[in-house]
Amino acid sequence: MFKYLNHVVISKFVMAITGIILILFITGHALGNLQIFLGKEALNKYAAFLQGLGEFLWIERIGLLVAALLHIITSIYLKLYNYNARPDKYVVKRYIKAKLNSRTMIWTGLMIAAFVIYHLLHFTVGSIQPENYKYKEIYTQNAYSVEYNANATSLSSQDNDNDANIGVNKILYERHDVYKMVVLGFKNPYISIFYIVAVILLGFHISHAVQSFFQTLGWNSPKYFTWIEKLSVAYGYFIAIAFLIVPLSILLGIIGSNV
């Protein structure tokens, strides 16, 4: 399967195709996150919708994992290969067109990879701040309650549906309180700043990546390419800002001060 690594141009195609899959996901993720500004109901509903996708969620997760692994493996292989193709360095070297973002793709990429692992443990697995991960939103028959109601019984223990559970406190529905988890998580300034730095690196990576994708797959016409290069930089800014505005707003108390 990894025979393609023997061909530098095919490896580059793999970089471009897996990269654009990651960019499409990242875009959806950034837009999804922004729903936090619509309030708790919107965000938790969205999260519950994603969780409810069932097998589609797993198809998406496996697809992303494959794309990410191929992207990382190929990039490391290419980097080593390319490094060896220029073993002797110049005493004096001036770069004219190669900007910092293009020359640091592997480093920003590897830092993003490390961050993504942390991020998954933090918000998807819940092992980094388990105290924030455990919150649930409960819907009982009479009202919607924010805190876990001591009189209510959780969904799982209702299977036998005995009489004691029937009443105003019966839990009709419960869902993960993502809003609370995110707000409490980002109230920790160390975590917020770590996230902000990571998404700035991501934006930097993307500012080179978008136009690189077009060039690699052969869509470089003089009519559009200056625009594609501008789009690439703008997209990097857009992604970085769309992500970092969430921890920043929480840190500044603009949202989530009621949690």
Binding site: V9, L78, P87, K89, Y90, V91, K97, A98, Q215
Partner: protein, 251 residues
Amino acid sequence: MKVKLHIWRQNGPNDKGKMVDYNLDNVSSDMSFLEMLDILNEDLILKGEEPVVFEHDCREGICGSCGLVINGKPHGPESGTTTCQLHMRKFKDGDDIFVEPFRSKAFSIVKDLMVDRSAYDRIQQSGGFISANVGSAPDANAIPIAKNIADLAMDAAACIGCGACAAACPNGSAMLFVAAKSSQLNLLPQGQPEKNKRVRAMINQMEKEGFGGCSNYYECEAACPKNISVRFIAKMNRDYFVAVVKEGTKV
């Protein structure tokens, strides 16, 4: 004018090599860079030292043999100019000038500033041609070619194979050269029958020679003395994609 030269001296391919300093006091600003090096060599010969080996031939910017890395840029500070067409008036009195050979794993150093660029010839020989039965010259306009296509093919054909692209590339990649040499034919009707085979064979040879891959740094375009655009790399990638889908990678 006076210049302080720092020149890479290396006795042979296996020698380690190092920078050596030379001072030149009587340089005219009208001299070309190579004439300045000629003066240096005359001095060295008079002193009984080994002259600096550097390659040159036409001295009019068309043969592509005069590549040197000057102050960190292949062919020096002036864009779109070969070393032989660079003049000393582009430098200031008292300047430090660093001169190094073109570097890429596929270019081994012969001596001092001269490198073996035969890897480019082998890439060209692997597919940079059309197979045609030679008879008498064909009618001039027998095959109509649109003006924009003809112009584009001419832009690609401006490549003089000097090696600056691989020397400028942080990956030591020859993609711009291979792109120019494959596109100049792949754009034209005469190049169509062997289009897929050509691009696969040339890229295959490029990999065999040990050149790196493209990371879209665009340093090659910035260094090219003929201003060949990286859009030819995009075109080659597209041609290669189609060729590999149709015919696989085996050459």
